[in-house]
Symmetry: C2
Subunit: 328 residues, 2 copies
Amino acid sequence: MTTGKPYVIGIDMGGTNTVFGIVDARGVVIASNSIKTRKHNKIEDYIDELYNETMRLVESADAKDKIYGIGVGAPNANYFTGVIEDGVNLPWPTPIPFAQMLSDKFGIPVAITNDANAAAIGEMTYGVARGLKDFIMITLGTGVGSGIVINGQVVYGHDGFAGELGHVIVKRNNGRLCGCGRTGCLETYCSATGVARTAREYLEITDTPSLLREIPISEITSKDVYDAAMKGDKLAKEVFNYTGTILGEALADFTVFSAPEAFVLFGGLAKAGDLLLKPIKEALEKNMLSIWKGKVKVLLSELKEADAAVLGASALGWEAKPLTEAQA
Amino acid sequence: MTTGKPYVIGIDMGGTNTVFGIVDARGVVIASNSIKTRKHNKIEDYIDELYNETMRLVESADAKDKIYGIGVGAPNANYFTGVIEDGVNLPWPTPIPFAQMLSDKFGIPVAITNDANAAAIGEMTYGVARGLKDFIMITLGTGVGSGIVINGQVVYGHDGFAGELGHVIVKRNNGRLCGCGRTGCLETYCSATGVARTAREYLEITDTPSLLREIPISEITSKDVYDAAMKGDKLAKEVFNYTGTILGEALADFTVFSAPEAFVLFGGLAKAGDLLLKPIKEALEKNMLSIWKGKVKVLLSELKEADAAVLGASALGWEAKPLTEAQA
């Protein structure tokens, strides 16, 4: 970082939007914008638009030749190889050597990791996890992702894919079908999608009156369940209790692995606040091995959702190095 | 390690025996011996005997003033504080500031960790995990312990107690009562004790003929089940299938956490070999998230049981530093 270049670019590639920003060394996003991820059928065209829009931002911020590196958070992105290996939610064939392609286009070093790891880095650098060396970021969005930090380092594992806690099996038998092809994964219960599934199940198998019965059942979202719960709807509150209990049980199991100081919850569902936090904390303590009872915090992310991903990705930009031949 | 002192002492404190040895820098145990852990009602008397017997060994090996440090593997030993915090299987009140007490007695630096972490270090330094930077040691003894290695480093967590994988809940409801006070822990099924419990259950709830019916039911051990299985006993083989399946399912879940290159099985039950390995590998592959199918090895420890613990503990001896006031 003695290059004198004061900025990095952070790029958060989501299934729908790609958000990018120019970030300074203190974590201030000095400019940001977004493009639609799915607009282009060819990855090359997507990269062209991303390059053009990013450079427009760079020029308007007078940051040309002042960019140290680019950090990217993307689904199934491999930190070690720079490759997006399997993009279930992306419109292009995989694997995509994304770091190399972006580095070729921009002419500066690029580092990539998955979106949950990027969020963890963002939280550690600028958010509620500042000063924590051991914590686990749990992202509660369409799916459940995770970024595991041990001794100040993100855990990548031997192949770059560690930290898929959304795919721990929480129901061994008769569990819900997951997008991964297996059944009973945590994310089928504790994602935004999982909350909607639980609400639909409850509406079908009970006669409990509920505000949610006014909505066509196939259209119910986690936001609808949240809104109903905030109005005191009993069934909707039970849905959050069920969701939080399963997540709290899972967090107790995760604790025995890396003994984190805290779990940090992030993403759309984390906005449910106490509706979700209360049953999580109750189940966590109830199921915790005695040596950790009362010792592990559950925190809510302090960063705005878009910012966290861009900031996290950008922090990775400071680590970016030119890819070696072997990696390319 | 430029002190010119060529040896370390490794001490493995088990619930029954305490084994200790003098080890050189290449991992050769040049002398070893053992004492009974439970012989003394006072920890001070135990340390006196341990000191006397160790020094006798040191003198006979002409190693006086040549010991760099002492490494200890002990139940619930905290690497950070040097304290044995909760010794369920030990005869003395806890917490015990063991590293400090031993360091005071011997006059050389002492480092301690739990027995499973010590075994992992031993395996990484001298055994089948040489060259692996990401692996998980699973110790299958009276209980189930684990030592998690990520990027070449043992995971201690924020408080020094990480890696209690024997206490992941594998049966959420109606699970077996565990020594930890909870129910459904992995170690109630997949330890030597768990195998004996499963055999007793099978004998009680089925009429399947079995060699094990010749043994008083309360006296059946995992060794008996192994012997019967090796003679082709159907019920005994089913017990190993059940045990291995539960362990394989759990290992698939552990994989999503740290993406290890291998699991290394260690301890009495690991000697069952293919009886256990086959169902483990089948369940692991069947339950594995697709990105890791066929990629994670299950290996058996290559070290003799006593040696592994002493060697692992001794390797920690090279890291031993005088305890600070804060830790004491």
